[in-house]
Structure formats: structure tokens, C-alpha cells
């Protein structure tokens, strides 16, 4: 993993670009992913699909393997392509890329054919053995609405939306849509104490950079008792890491409920596609689901450690697109307002990734990055609450979402679905849903002049 001569030359060249880009001012950085950023101008829906340009050729080949196992469908076992069989028995999707569409986000649109990219976590009060949510005894920890031939599905998720009308400070009306989630379960009633949490598949760019932020920096920003008195109390989620079999700082997932990209990926393989791994070796069938338990599997485990590693490498090293608009007056004004309103209190613009000996991948180490997140949990108010604890995250807490790639989501996905369940159809709606610790910042936006609101949105669209 030592940098080759060629890659050192390349890094030098990128550094020059970075100096030039700094002419735009620090408040509107362009190389959001440091040297791993990629200019994706005019690539349209492909914008999230490129490898970090600073990977070595050998790393590129690992990236390609990960891309293949991320993008291609998994198939019913037994199959000739035995590296790729073991789908289900019950599942939500056949490939990672089904929900992370073109490495972007899932779509919550209810088409009657099942959701693609919006799934429902299930639990009942109490904790599992490792301190996580307590799975439902019949349905398990996730509603799976699809299955291989001969195995019944668990049921269907029905989402309905109700309009919520509000007003900006200048009297302009806006309409938010508030979702309601219902389960039409095929294995009997879920019971009165069921807790559900909808989760939309997020874009998967820059994951390795987030993982490379030193843990102590994340912990240092936490302020659980709000000693600073600013109304914002970032908290760390402490979650089970099946690889180390210890409780660790959570970084990934909407509630920071996974410690590493690898653990998150293993969870998704099992929960979303029914693919077992060494980190998640049990099929997601409960004792109430005999057809599921009896179905053939695709090996034990179904995705090997090596392939899980390649998929993890892939999402770690997908390039963060270069930001646009550094010279645009509105974007620059929006960047100032982002600070003034207090958005940046949680959407921390800048981090420094750790050294190579901690990070392990040259391209991802020692980078100045701009993900706009503190990776901490915040109380976001009742409007967004799912009421379902997840390790130390409460039913009203969510992790600050990274904002890089935000302005390209529409190009990649065709539509915009923001927040943990995709309820927000525009950046404005997403901001207006912010409550709890974020209520004061949201209120400044709501009360602002239309020009200032537009400037803030333009800044966010440039990221």
C-alpha cells in the first residue's frame, strides 16, 4: 500500500489544483473529498459511480470486484454462478444497487410493487443480547416484502402521506408531506408494542473518508449535557461491532447504528438481500417461518469475507464529486448563512482524516474533507421521530446526515427524496422538517427573506 511513484506524482498534481480552488474561499470548498474528489461535470446520472482518482491500479481492480458484487443481482441458490447465489429466502432487494440506485438513494414511491430502497426496521421493547433493538418474535428485525419462489413474503409496507401546510416568514405557503407507515403482515398481527423505523438507502459516496475521521475527533465534538448551552447536545451512539465483538462508536446508518462500513454492509447483505456473511451468519428467518428456514442456502456464509471486503472497499472509495459554484455570489452568501443560522453547528463542514497507519488506504489518509456532518446523534423533534431506540440512540435522535453529493442527487436519481425516509421532496422541505435541537436553525431559515433562503439552498445544491 506504499504510494507508487506514479501516485505520488498524481497527488502532487492534485495539490496544485487544490491551491487554485482555494481561491474560492474556505467557506465554499470545492474538493469535498480532498484528493479523492472527482470532477464529474456532465456525467448526469453516473455522477456517483466513479472510483477515487488517487487509487493505485491494484486498488482499482479491487474496486471493480466490489462494484460487481454491489451492482449485479444475487440469485436463488443453488445456481451455477455459485459466488452469487443465496438470495433470500426473504429479501427486500436482489442487489445493493437496487436500492442504492446508481450508488445514489432509494426511492420511497409507493408503486404497489413493493418499495425499492425504503425499508422498515421492526422491534419490540427491550434489547437484544448485544444491546441493539429487540427483534419481533415472528417478523424479525426487518419487514421483507419479497421472497424467492416457494417462500411466502412477510407482508407489505403501506405508506400514506398527509399534507402539512406551513408558512415562511414572508407569508409564502409551503406544503410538507407527513408519512404514516402501516404493515399489512401475512404472519398475523404485529401487536400493540411493535416499533417501526423507516430507513431510506442513502448515497454511498465517500464512506471510507467518514470512516477515516479519527474517533477522538468525533468524541471531542460530543456535548451530551450541552455544557456549551447552545441548545445542541451531540451524542455518540455506542453500538455492537460484530467483527471485534465489542461496543464501539457508531458512525453509519441513519442512527449511527453501525460501527464500520464493513459492519453496515454485512447488516445490509443479511437484512436487505438475505445474504449471510461471517459477521451476520444467520438467515433472517424466524422460527415462525418454516419455508424460509427450509429453503436451500448459497453456502455458509453466502458472501465470503473476501467479497464482503471488496464491496466494502468499493463503497469506501467511491469518489465524492467536486463541488460547484465557488465563484457564485449566491452560493458564497449561502455558505455564510449556513454558519449564521447555525446549520454548521451539527453539519460540521470540515474534518481531517487520520494517518495511513490508522486508515490503511493511502488515498483516504491525511485528507482534508468537507462532509458537513459531525456523525453525532441529535434530537430532531417529534415530527421526525420514529420512537424506536437503536443502541444508545433514542426514538427522537438521528445522526447528522452528510451533505456532500446533495446537489447531484436529482441528476443521479431523477427525483429528490431527502431525510431518513425520503419524505422531503426538496431541500427546503428537508430543512423545514428539522426540529428539536435543530429547531432554532430551521426557524432562522423559515423566517428569512426569500433571497436568503434561495442563497442557502443554492449553497446546498452546490455541494
Amino acid at each position: 500500500m506504499r504510494p507508487s511513484f506514479a501516485s505520488r506524482v498524481a497527488l502532487g498534481a492534485v495539490a496544485l489544483v487544490a491551491v487554485a480552488a482555494c481561491g474560492g474561499g474556505d467557506a465554499v470548498p470545492e474538493l469535498l473529498g480532498g484528493d479523492t474528489s472527482r470532477d464529474v461535470a456532465d456525467t448526469g446520472s453516473r455522477a456517483f459511480g466513479f472510483p477515487a482518482p488517487t487509487l493505485t491500479n491494484d486498488e482499482r481492480r479491487v474496486f471493480e470486484i466490489g462494484d460487481s458484487f454491489f451492482t449485479q443481482n444475487w440469485v436463488t441458490a443453488p445456481a451455477s454462478t455459485d459466488a452469487r447465489d443465496g438470495l433470500g429466502p426473504m429479501f427486500n432487494a436482489q442487489a445493493c444497487a437496487s436500492c442504492h440506485l446508481r450508488d445514489g438513494r432509494g426511492t420511497p414511491a409507493s408503486t404497489g410493487d413493493g418499495e425499492l430502497g425504503l425499508l422498515l426496521r421492526l422491534s419490540i421493547p427491550g434489547e437484544s443480547d448485544n444491546g441493539g433493538p429487540n427483534p419481533h418474535p415472528v417478523y424479525g428485525d426487518q419487514l421483507q416484502d419479497r421472497a424467492i419462489l416457494g417462500v411466502p413474503v412477510e407482508g407489505e409496507l403501506v405508506v400514506t402521506y398527509e399534507d402539512v401546510v406551513g408558512q415562511y416568514g414572508d407569508g409564502t405557503e409551503y406544503v410538507l408531506r407527513a408519512p404514516t407507515y402501516e404493515v399489512e403482515g401475512d404472519f398475523g398481527p404485529l401487536g400493540d408494542d411493535i416499533m417501526v423505523s423507516p430507513r431510506l438507502a442513502p448515497q454511498v459516496i465517500g464512506m471510507g473518508l467518514l470512516e477515516a475521521i479519527p474517533e477522538e475527533m468525533i468524541r471531542a465534538a460530543a456535548d451530551p449535557d450541552d455544557t456549551t448551552g447552545n441548545g445542541i447536545s451531540g451524542r455518540v451512539n455506542e453500538v455492537w461491532n460484530p467483527a471485534t465483538e465489542t461496543t464501539e462508536l457508531g458512525r453509519f446508518g441513519w442512527k449511527a447504528n453501525a460501527a464500520t462500513v464493513r459492519a453496515q454492509s454485512a447488516d445490509a447483505f443479511r437484512g436487505d438481500m438475505g445474504i449471510t456473511s461471517s459477521l451476520a451468519p444467520e438467515e433472517s428467518c424466524t422460527s415462525a417461518q418454516p419455508e424460509c428456514l427450509d429453503a436451500p442456502n448459497g453456502g455458509e456464509p453466502e458472501v465470503t469475507d473476501s467479497r464482503l471486503g471488496s464491496v466494502t472497499f468499493y463503497t469506501r472509495t467511491l469518489a465524492v464529486p467536486v463541488a460547484r459554484g465557488a465563484d457564485d455570489a449566491d452560493v458564497r452568501r449561502g455558505a455564510e448563512l449556513f454558519e449564521v443560522y447555525g446549520c454548521s453547528s451539527c453539519h460540521t463542514p470540515t474534518h481531517q482524516t487520520g494517518p495511513l497507519e490508522e486508515v490503511g488506504i493511502v488515498a483516504l489518509s491525511d485528507q482534508t474533507i468537507h462532509p458537513y456532518t459531525d456523525l453525532l446523534l441529535h434530537d430532531m423533534g417529534e415530527g421526525l421521530a420514529d420512537g424506536r431506540p437503536d443502541f444508545s440512540a433514542s426514538g427522537t435522535e438521528w445522526r447528522t446526515a452528510p451533505l456532500w453529493g446533495l446537489g447531484l442527487l436529482e441528476a443521479v436519481n431523477g427525483e429528490l427524496f431527502l431525510l431518513h425516509d425520503g419524505r422531503a421532496r426538496t431541500i427546503e422541505e428537508a430543512i423545514l422538517w428539522h426540529g428539536g435541537e435543530a429547531a432554532a436553525a430551521m426557524e432562522q431559515f423559515r423566517a428569512a427573506d426569500p433571497d436568503d433562503r434561495d442563497a442557502l439552498v443554492k449553497f446546498l445544491e452546490s455541494r
Binding site: V40, D42, R61, E64, I65, V75, S80, T81, I148
Partner: protein, 385 residues
């Protein structure tokens, strides 16, 4: 390759001087090169539809009278048709008729891997698949297959080239040869009639989807994609053309189809695993890239090629690219068939078969930056993985 690069600048200087002596009348127009391409795409899909029609006829004959002989005829027709389709994959990756996000049929035509047990019996589950489930699927027809593919909004891969391949060859359970499905699967095996219906329906669908592509690129039709492509700015059209071959060269062919198989050593992790036809798939893809550059499409072409256009700006670069692409095609032809023999555990990396794959991968990787440079020479900025 390094030595030829050292010599290149001198050659370039001479050629640049020579071209400076000419007036502009010799220059190749971008519009003409785009038109050559668009007509070539149409000719290529037309050739593919023709050989797929022969396949469809062979399948109808086989299902009407299933013998080992009629089955072999159908297999031979599949192999021939597959080559004609393979070159057309150079027309992907820019959201054209083959793979636009609304109705591009790529996923229905060529998706991989095959969910075999979704279609028919497999070793270890003899009652698997739609073929063997008349209770759930009483009628097998084109509408059912299309619906199933759309269930859940993602591709279930119950159609296309590899579905036909599976239904003709069966699973490849032989370490040394292709699948060996007996013709009796279509005579007196369980659900033999349903299997025959599935095969003929899926073959008919293949023709429908290829026909859709032929129509989209028909130069005479008007109001179609051909017209759009040849009337939009030539820069945009050329960006599409270069993106298509650049993405196929490295990300798709060298990466997804060759490096993944080479590295993962899973014997059937290859595109045509039932028929053991993967080396031909690879050759066809590499040849497709060459075809786009040289303009040597099925039936020939009179207009200026993309290479002519590049040469008009930088003849040295055009020569280098032509040489690299030719070298890649040759390297793919030197991979001993069947491809899956080189994926087995225990075959050392020093084995000539594995080395031949790695050589072809490396050449395809190496030519990709040259494709990007050639686009840059024409003032285009393309982004490929």
C-alpha cells in the same frame, strides 16, 4: 509499448508539418463521423436481429421436433447470434436506446447472472422455477415474462440471451465442458411442454427488443433516436461515442467481465457459463470497440471513421490508439477456450491461460486513457470509470 512512445514525437512532428501544408478542405467533419457511427450502429443491430431471427427459427424447429440434432442446430444458431450482439455493447453507457433509464432493454436482453432456479430446475432443486410451477403460473407467455421482470421495479432476469442459453444448454456441471441438457427435457421430462413454451416465448421477446433498437437507429425512419443523435451537437454525440467505448474498455470488459472472473476464481463466474462461450463474448466486446474506431461495421461503411477524425487532429494519437486496440483484440483471441478452465482453484497465475487473460486485461486497461486522450484532442471531456 514504451519504446514506440519514445519514437512517437518525431513522427508526430513530421505529420503535423505535412498537414499544415494542406488546406482545410481535407479535414474530416465531426458531423460526418457521427453519421458514420449512427449508420454503423443501425447496421450492427440489423445484423444482430438477422442472426437472432435465425436463432428463433432454429428454436421453433427444435421445440416442434425436439431431437439432439435440432437442439444442436439451435445451439449453433445461438453461438452465431451471440457474436453479432457482442459487438453492439460498444453502443452502451450513454443512455442511448439500449440502456436509457426509461425503456432501454439492456436488462431484458443481456442481464447477468442468470437466476436459473427462477426459471427451471437446477441440481439440488428439481422442482424449481416458473417452468415447474403451473399452479402459480398457469400460462407462460410474453406478458408474464415481461411482468415478472418488472416485479418490484428491478430486473428478475428471466429473459434474454442467457435465459435462452440456460434453456438450451442447462447448468454447466462438467468441469471440462459446457452444460449438457438433454433434448428429452423437451420431450417427456416433467413440464416439457411448458419448457418449450418458455423457450419460444423468450426467443420471441429477444426479437422484439432487438427490433426496438433497429427501429430507434433506422436512418430512414425519421423522428427517432437516429435523427436526434445526428442532429444534436456533434460534440455531444462524440462525447457519447467515446464514453461508450471508454466505459466498455475498462470498467465493463477489463473490469467487470474479466478482472472479476480472473480474481475471484469462481469457475462459473463468467458470462456465458452454460455454453462455455465466454471467450467469444470477450472477443466480440473488444472487437466492438475497434469497430467504432475504424468504422468497419457490418456491411461496410463509406463515411469517415472516428479514427479518421482523430487522425485529422493528431495522426500520431490515432495511430497509437489503433495499434493499442488492435493489440487488445488480438490478446482476447489468444485466451484459450473455455474461459472457465482458467478460473479454477489451483490453476497457478503462471499458467499460460491465466497469463493470457491478464495480458488482455492490461491492454484493455492501458488503451482506456488513450481513448480519453483522443476525446480530449477533439476538445471533448469524457469521464469513464
Amino acid at each position: 509499448m514504451k519504446p514506440s512512445r519514445v519514437l512517437a514525437p518525431a513522427v508526430a512532428t513530421v505529420l503535423v508539418l505535412a498537414s499544415c501544408g494542406d488546406d482545410d478542405s481535407s479535414s474530416v467533419s465531426q458531423e460526418d463521423a457521427v453519421e458514420t457511427y449512427a449508420q454503423g450502429v443501425h447496421a450492427s443491430y440489423t445484423a444482430s436481429l438477422e442472426s437472432a431471427t435465425s436463432l428463433d427459427e432454429a428454436i421453433d424447429s427444435f421445440v416442434a421436433d425436439p431431437t439432439e440434432e435440432t437442439m444442436q442446430t439451435a445451439k449453433d444458431a445461438w453461438l452465431a447470434a451471440r457474436d453479432d450482439y457482442g459487438v453492439t455493447e460498444a453502443f452502451r453507457f450513454y443512455g442511448g436506446p439500449i440502456d436509457n433509464e426509461e425503456d432501454g432493454p439492456e436488462g431484458l436482453l443481456n442481464a447477468w447472472p442468470m437466476d436459473e432456479a427462477y426459471i427451471d430446475y437446477v441440481e439440488g432443486n428439481l422442482s424449481a422455477g416458473i417452468v415447474n410451477d403451473p399452479d402459480t403460473y398457469p400460462t407462460i407467455d410474453a406478458a408474464l415474462l415481461t411482468d415478472l421482470n418488472e416485479a418490484g421495479g428491478e430486473t428478475n432476469i428471466s429473459t434474454g440471451w442467457h435465459a435462452i442459453e440456460f434453456l438450451l444448454w442447462g447448468q454447466d456441471l462438467d468441469d471440462d465442458g459446457p452444460g449438457a441438457r438433454p433434448a428429452s427435457d423437451y420431450v417427456d421430462a416433467d413440464n416439457a411442454d411448458r419448457r418449450g413454451t418458455y423457450l419460444t416465448e423468450v426467443s420471441d421477446l429477444l426479437l422484439v427488443h432487438l427490433g426496438q433498437l433497429v427501429d430507434a437507429w433506422d436512418p430512414q425512419a425519421g423522428g427517432n433516436y437516429y435523427e436526434e443523435f445526428t442532429t444534436k451537437s456533434s460534440e455531444e454525440a462524440l462525447t457519447d461515442i467515446f464514453t461508450g467505448i471508454g466505459e466498455l474498455s475498462r470498467g465493463e470488459l477489463a473490469g467487470e467481465r474479466m478482472n472479476v472472473a480472473y480474481s475471484e476464481r469462481s469457475q462459473e463466474d463468467e458470462h456465458s457459463c452454460f455454453a462455455d462461450n465466454t471467450t467469444n463474448d470477450i472477443i466480440a466486446n473488444a472487437t466492438g470497440i475497434q469497430m467504432v474506431l475504424t468504422g468497419e461495421y457490418p456491411g461496410g461503411s463509406d463515411g469517415p471513421s472516428i479514427l479518421d477524425l482523430i487522425a485529422d487532429t493528431d495522426s500520431d494519437l490515432a495511430e497509437e490508439l489503433e495499434a493499442q486496440v488492435s493489440q487488445s483484440v488480438t490478446a482476447t483471441t489468444e485466451i484459450p477456450a473455455p474461459f472457465d478452465q482458467h478460473l479454477r482453484d489451483g490453476v497457478p497465475d503462471t499458467d499460460p491461460g491465466r497469463q493470457s487473460i491478464l495480458t488482455a486485461i492490461t491492454f484493455l486497461e492501458d488503451q482506456t486513457p488513450t481513448i480519453v486522450s483522443a476525446a480530449s484532442a477533439l476538445g471533448l471531456s469524457i469521464n469513464v470509470t
